[in-house]
Amino acid sequence: MENNSLCSSLLKWLETFPGRQGITIHMLTDGVVMATVLHQIAPEYFSKFWLTKIKADVGDNWRLKVSNLRKVLQGIVDYYQEQLNQNIKHFPLPDLNKIGEHGDPLEMGRMLQLILGCAVNCENKQQYIEAIMNMEERVQKVIMEAIQELMLRESS
């Protein structure tokens, strides 16, 4: 699956969240928006306390960005394991340095794919799935394949 279309489709998906219109890859590279979205998806797990661990004002310091991204990714992996009972060991985890330093769309697509998996499996999944069902068909198709890839990893 051509990962630029994955990244651009998942950016469109993120725009369905309140206040995220016009979101860009660069806006996501510090991990703060990702953490806020995860807090909205599963506040019981990605709690306010968890959010405090994510540094808000890292500017362009890519090392601090990567440090944030590492906490976000670890939280996601733990959520799949502890909350969703899903094994994603086979899923190619994103290269956080490439995201933090270069905003790499391929790696960003992987990260957003994991967040998508949280949204469509969480307690409040209905609102997120229905929002996807109201998107362009082409985008829905990319999102379906992204979820299937996660599930494939989970079932294989």
């Binding site: 999944k125 198709k141 379906m144």
Partner: protein, 33 residues
């Protein structure tokens, strides 16, 4: 739940709607925190 997106072609819409409806009905495996 039918996708309400205008201009969606019939065949694809069915596949997409079926998939997302199956996600909706899939048991949520979330443990209490």
């Amino acid at each position: 739940i039918e996708s309400t997106k205008p201009g969606v072609t019939g065949a694809n819409e069915g596949v997409l709607a079926n998939f997302f409806n199956s996600l909706l009905s899939k048991k949520t495996g979330t443990n209490p925190p």
